[in-house]
Subunit: 481 residues, 2 copies
C-alpha cells in the first residue's frame, strides 16, 4: 500500500467535492433559504482538508490495484463525512451521526432517510441531498464498469465496459474515456426525465431533484409523501420508465444510442431483468386483485408497477404503502430487495446477472449429476463464463448473505424487532431505502438507535462497493508492503 | 433410467418397511392399546404392495447412478406414505395428509408435528412415531456417507466414509460393509442413551423413544411438553450430550471407538462445530443474562445449552420457549437453523462443513484480490479441496437459499404470516421441527392449511436428501434413456 499516493488522490477528490458543494449556492441565493453561508463554509472546510492532503502528499508512483481499493472505499467514506457538513452547519440535521447517515444514504444512492419532515429543509439542502444521489450514481457507473472489473471484484470482470478506443495498458486514460461516454448517457437520460417531469406539471426544481434521484436509483424525494405527493399517473409512469432504465447496464444504453439495438435487446441480463420485472408486476397485481387492495384495475397496474420497479431497481420511491398489501406480495418485495438491478447500472443488490449465473450454476450442477461424464459450462449470452468469474460470483453471494445475517443480528442487538431489523439490513445493503416494519415505506430511520445507524451506514457503504472492496481493507496482508 | 429395476428395489424396501411395522406389535399387545390390528393391517398392505413390485418387476441389470437417485427419493416418499397407515387405520390421525406429514416428519428426522395432544396416542403408535425417526436416521447415515458421495451430490464426495476393507468395484458390497459398521455405532449410542435416561428415572418406553429421537436428531417426544415434561437437569444434560454426538460425523465416532482419538479431535469440521456450539451457548447466555430471562445462572446454562444444541443439531426437542428470549437470541437461533449438524451426522441443515467451506472460499476470494498472482487453495483439514467439490458446495448453498425463498413464498401464499412462513420453511428444510411465530416451540403444525402442509412435506424430503437428489428427478433428461 502506497499511503502517500492514496492520501494525495483522496485530497484531489475532496477538492472536487468542494466544487460540487458550491453548485448548491445558486439555489440557496435564488430561494433565499439562508443556507448559503453553510455551503460556503462546507466547501471551504472540504477544500482546505483536501488541499492539505493533495499538496503535502506527493508521490510519483503509478496507481496500483491495492491503492485502487483504498481510494474507492475511503473516497466514498470521506464524501459521506464532508458531504454531511452543510446539514450540520445549517442546523438542518443537528446530530452529526444523522447527517452522515443521510449523506452516506445519498452518495450510496440508498435513499434511507432520518428526516421526519423533509419539506422543512431549505431548498438548497434538498438540492444537495438529491445531488449526492446523482454524484454517487456517476461514481457507481464508472466503478462498476471500469474500476471493479480491473480489480477483479466478485466476478465483475464479466461486465467490463467494452468501450472502443485506444487500448492503453495503463489504468488512467482507459477509465477516463469510458467514464466520459457513460456519463454522457447518464446526463442525457437525466435531462430527458427532467423535461418529461416538467411537462407533467412539476417545477424545474422538483423535476431536477427527482431525476437525480431516479437515474441514480436513489429515492430521496423533495416531498414528505415521496412521489405519491404529486398524485399524477403521468408522473408515476415517467418515473417507472426511468427507474427501469436506470436499472439497466449503462454500456447497453450506450450501444442502443449508437444504433446497436440488436445488442441491446439480445442481452441476456436485460432479458432476465425484464422477465423479473414483468413477472413480479403480474404476480403482485394478482395478489392485490384477489385481496381487493385496489378497486380499479388501472390503479392496481399503476401502483403495483411503481412499487415493483422502485424496489427491484433499488430506487425506493413510494406511491403506495406495500405493507398494506397481502403478505405474499410483501414477501415478493423482499425477494426483489435482494436481487437488485443489472450489473453496470446504478442499482444495488446482488445484481440480476449474478442471480442469473447462480441459477445457471445450480442447473449445471444438477445436469452433471445426471450426466457425470458430459462437459457443460455456464454461459452468459453466447460466451462461456470463466471458472474464476463464477467462483467470484458464488463467493459474492455467500458473502452477501453472510453480511446480511451479521448486520441483522447487530440490528436485533440494537433493539430492533426481527422484521424491521432484517428489512433495514437488506434495505441498506442493497441500497434501496425503505424496508418493512418500523422502517417501512411510510416510516423513516430517525428512531433507529445510534448503534443501529452506524451498522446501517457501514451496510450502505459495503453494499454499494460490492462488499469485497471494503472487506479487503480488514485483511492485515492488504496493508503490508 | 431402468424403471423396472427401480420398482423392484422399491418393492424390496416396502417389504422391509412391513417388517419394521410389526416391531410395534409387542408394544401394542403389552400396553393393550388396541392398535395391534392397525399395525397388522398396515404391515399387510405394505408387504402386499412391496411384494407385487418385487416379484413382478424382474431385472438382471446392476444398479447405476440414475436409479440410485430414483430409489433414494421415491424410497423415502413411499416410506412416508406407507408408514402413515397405522395412524390412519387406527383413527389416531384421521386426515391422510396429516398422517403423511407426521410420517414424513418422522422418516426425515424433522420432528414437526401436527398432533395437538401427543399423550392421547396409543403407546404403540408413539413407539412407531419414534421408530420412524430412528429408521430415518439409519438411512441418512448410510445415504450421506456411502451413497451420496458416490452420486457426487452437493460436494458430499468430500465426506465419503473411508471404511477399511475389501475395496470392491461394485456399489453393493461396499455400501453394505460401511453401513454395518456405522449402524453398530448408532445402535451402541442409542443403547447407551436409553440406559442413562432410565438411570435418570425415565421408564424404558420413554427412554427408548427419546433415544430414538435424539440419535436421529428427530425431536418427536412422547410427552406434550417435550423434554420439559421431565423437569430434570440430569435428563436435560444427558440429552444435550447425545444430541451433540448425533450431530457429529458418524465416521468420526467409528474412528474414536477404534482408539483413534487424535483423528477425532483434530477433525476440522468437528472443531468448528464445537466452536459454533459453545460460542452460541455463550452468546445466548449473555443475552438471557442481560435481559434477566433466568434468575439462576445454572438455569441459564441449562436451558440455553439445551436449546442451542437442540436447534443446531436440528433435533428440535424443547425445554424452554425461546420465543420469550430477547430478539437477538431468537435471531441467533434462526441462524443456527440454517447451519445444522456436521456432514455424515443425522443432523440436517446446510451442514457445518459446507458453511466452513463457504467462509474459506470467501476468504480466499478476498486474498486473491490483494495478491492476484498468488495461488491459494481452499483446504479442509490438511487436504486442498477439489474445485469440483467446492462448486458443488457453493451450488448447494445457492440452491438451499433459493428453495427456502420459494417455500417461504408458497407458505405466505397459503396464508401464513412472514415470520411463521419463513420459520416453517427453514424448520422443515433443515429438518429441525419447531420454528417461530405460529409454529414456535410451544405450538404445532396442525393449523397450517393443507397447501402449506404439502409444501412443508416436500421441503422435509428435499432438505433431508440434500436437495439435488430430489431435484434431478424434475429434469426431463433424467428420464431419457
Amino acid at each position: 500500500m502506497n499511503l502517500i499516493l492514496t492520501l494525495r488522490i483522496l485530497g484531489a477528490l475532496l477538492i472536487y467535492l468542494a466544487g460540487t458543494l458550491l453548485t448548491a449556492l445558486p439555489f440557496s441565493l435564488y430561494y433565499q433559504d439562508g443556507a448559503a453561508v453553510s455551503f460556503l463554509l462546507s466547501a471551504l472546510t472540504t477544500a482546505s482538508c483536501g488541499g492539505v492532503l493533495f499538496f503535502f502528499c506527493r508521490s510519483r508512483k503509478e496507481l496500483s490495484l491495492r491503492e485502487g481499493f483504498a481510494v474507492v472505499s475511503f473516497g466514498w467514506a470521506l464524501f459521506a463525512l464532508f458531504g454531511a457538513l452543510p446539514y450540520i452547519y445549517s442546523g438542518a440535521i443537528p446530530s452529526p451521526l444523522d447527517a452522515v447517515f443521510e449523506t452516506m444514504s445519498g452518495f450510496t444512492t440508498t435513499g434511507s432517510t432520518i428526516l421526519t419532515n423533509i419539506e422543512a429543509l431549505p431548498k438548497s439542502l434538498l438540492f444537495w441531498r438529491a445531488l449526492t444521489h446523482w454524484l454517487g450514481g456517476m461514481g457507481i457507473i464508472v466503478l462498476s464498469l471500469a474500476i471493479l472489473p480491473m480489480l477483479g471484484v466478485g466476478g465483475m470482470q464479466l461486465f467490463k465496459a467494452e468501450v472502443p478506443g485506444p487500448t492503453a495498458d495503463r489504468l488512467k486514460p482507459r477509465i477516463q474515456d469510458t467514464a466520459k461516454l457513460l456519463w454522457g448517457v447518464y446526463l442525457l437520460l437525466t435531462a430527458l426525465e427532467t423535461l418529461l417531469l416538467m411537462l407533467g406539471g412539476m417545477s424545474f426544481f422538483d423535476a431536477l431533484c427527482h431525476s437525480f434521484a431516479t437515474l441514480a436509483t436513489g429515492g430521496f424525494s423533495t416531498r414528505n409523501a415521496s412521489v405519491a405527493a404529486y398524485n399524477s399517473a403521468y408522473i408515476d409512469w415517467v418515473i417507472v420508465l426511468f427507474m427501469f432504465l436506470a436499472g439497466v447496464n449503462f454500456t447497453l444504453h450506450l450501444q442502443a444510442l449508437r444504433g446497436k439495438l440488436n445488442t441491446f435487446f439480445s442481452n441476456e441480463e436485460l432479458r432476465f431483468y425484464s422477465w423479473i420485472t414483468f413477472g413480479a408486476i403480474g404476480l403482485v397485481m394478482i395478489f392485490n386483485l384477489t385481496s381487493g387492495t385496489y378497486t380499479q384495475l388501472t390503479d392496481n397496474l399503476r401502483y403495483s408497477s411503481f412499487q415493483v420497479v422502485s424496489i427491484l431497481t433499488t430506487t425506493g420511491f413510494g406511491t403506495a404503502d406495500y405493507e398494506l398489501w397481502p403478505v405474499i406480495a410483501q414477501y415478493l418485495i423482499i425477494i426483489l430487495m435482494f436481487i437488485g438491478g443489472c450489473a453496470g447500472s446504478t442499482g444495488g443488490g446482488i445484481k440480476v446477472a449474478r442471480v442469473l449465473l447462480l441459477l445457471k450454476h445450480a442447473q449445471v450442477q444438477i445436469f452433471r449429476l445426471i450426466h457425470p461424464r458430459a462437459v457443460r459450462l455456464v454461459k452468459l449470452g453466447k460466451r462461456p463464463v470463466d471458472n474464476e468469474v463464477l467462483a467470484g460470483v458464488l463467493g459474492f453471494f455467500a458473502l452477501y448473505i453472510g453480511v446480511f445475517i451479521i448486520a441483522s443480528l447487530l440490528l436485533a442487538a440494537s433493539g430492533m424487532d426481527l422484521i424491521s431489523g432484517g428489512a433495514a439490513a437488506v434495505a441498506c445493503l442493497s441500497n434501496i431505502g425503505p424496508g418493512l416494519g418500523s422502517i417501512g415505506p411510510v416510516d423513516n430511520f430517525a428512531h433507529v438507535p445510534a448503534f443501529g445507524k452506524t451498522v446501517l451506514i457501514i451496510c450502505m457503504l459495503m453494499g454499494r462497493l460490492e462488499l469485497f472492496t471494503v472487506l479487503v481493507l480488514f485483511f492485515p496482508s492488504f496493508w503490508r508492503k
